[in-house]
């Protein structure tokens, strides 16, 4: 039962992602060609609410369900990984029109070939795990 709340949160996110057409190859193409405001509206409002919510937790106005102060892990300020890794991720995002959250939503929506996509993504993560000591971070 302890997992039920996470399934509910995921459900809401997946439902919204589909209805907002965030799972759409055509919407992602449109975003990268700057032809409509839709995706930018989602990102901008998402970040705006996100900043407010995160600050409420950081400043202690809201505690976690256990009554504890939520802690955040600052990200290391080393740049190559964010730039090179980010470019690789972005290329995948524009190629298939799918990011790592949307692949689950599409799989559930009945596009079963995304089982192969998820397996390929696991392979990509696995290869990263194998070579990470040899590439710049």
């Amino acid at each position: 039962m302890k997992f039920f709340k996470y399934i509910m949160v995921g459900f809401l996110f997946g439902f919204g992602a589909y209805k907002l057409e965030m799972i759409s190859f055509f919407r992602i193409y449109e975003m990268f060609h700057f032809q409509d405001f839709h995706m930018y509206g989602i990102i901008i409002t998402g970040i705006t609410f996100g900043i407010i919510i995160t600050q409420l937790f950081k400043l202690g106005f809201v505690k976690t369900s256990k009554g504890e102060q939520k802690t955040f892990n600052p990200k290391a300020h080393t740049w190559p990984r964010y730039i090179i890794g980010g470019i690789i991720f972005g290329m995948g995002w524009a190629l298939t029109g799918v990011c790592s959250g949307m692949m689950f939503v599409l799989m559930g929506s009945g596009y079963t070939v995304f089982g192969v996509f998820i397996a390929a993504a696991m392979l990509g993560t696995f290869v990263y795990g194998m070579v990470r000591k040899h590439i710049p971070h």
Binding site: F3, K5, Y6, I7, V9, G10, F11, L12, F13, G16, A17, Y18, L20, I23, S24, F26, I28, Y29, F32, H33, Q35, D36, I42, T45, G46, I47, G50, E68, K70, F72, R81, Y82, G85, G86, I87, I88, F89, G90, M91, G92, W93, A94, L95, V98, C99, S100, G101, F104, V105, M107, T112, V113, F114, F117, A120, A121, M122, G124, T125, G129
Partner: protein, 215 residues
């Protein structure tokens, strides 16, 4: 009963962009409230670890069972997608701009019968129950497509880039663009700008050629 019907009707309309802020905001709020993070690509590492990848690299030697909650978020997202697609999307369309339709048709202009019509673009490039007659050119998310070079690059190549890139960059769209930037982390802003650089290179330089591979 009438109220349920009207809720169903409202939810079945195409959602405006500002609903994105609400959806993402609620998701982030509850995950933080439960003491967790919002970042879906971390699941790929967990899934590798659960399959025994720890034998090959220390990167996968971690307490992956403690990440079960995030797999449940992904599972929930699958259910959510299923419900939205099956019961709440009567037209199954991507309501993209006319400009986008024109530029997509520019890519496929040499392939007869593959033009998309503004106002009737399917939500994803694949046949659906409502739109079974999608042109072959735009049939990308299917098993048939997987067994063509073009489809293989898009499904397997794209998946590999997503899996490799998200772990290398330490996060994906949810982890960096939402969680990281919301926490005012400079590395996340750099990552998101890099996502866009990579995306622009792909969509302008490589994607038109990949889509035009005839087999």
């Amino acid at each position: 009963m009438e109220m349920l019907q009207s809720i169903h009707e409202v939810l079945s309309q195409p959602w405006p962009w500002w609903a994105g802020g609400i959806t993402i905001g609620i998701t982030l709020f509850f995950l933080l409230y439960f003491g967790k993070e919002f970042g879906l690509s971390a699941n790929l590492r967990t899934m590798c670890a659960a399959d025994g990848a720890g034998e090959f690299s220390d990167f996968f030697n971690f307490d992956w069972q403690s990440q079960g909650w995030n797999l449940m978020v992904a599972l929930g997202a699958m259910f959510g997608g299923y419900m939205a697609a099956t019961y709440f999307s009567p037209d199954q369309e991507a309501h993209i701009s006319q400009e986008t339709v024109i530029s997509l048709n520019e890519i496929s202009k040499d392939v007869p019968g593959s033009q998309l019509v503004y106002g009737e673009v399917p939500i994803v490039p694949a046949p659906t129950v409502e739109k079974a007659d999608i042109p072959d050119f735009w049939n990308l998310y299917s098993w048939k497509s997987l067994f063509s070079l073009r489809g293989f690059i898009i499904i397997v190549g794209g998946g590999f880039l997503i899996g490799f890139g998200s772990r290398y960059a330490g996060g994906c769209t949810s982890g960096h663009a939402i969680s990281g930037i919301a926490d005012l982390q400079l590395p996340s802003l750099v990552a998101v700008i890099s996502f866009f650089i990579g995306g622009l290179i792909m969509t302008y330089v490589f994607l038109p050629f990949i889509l035009k591979i005839p087999f």
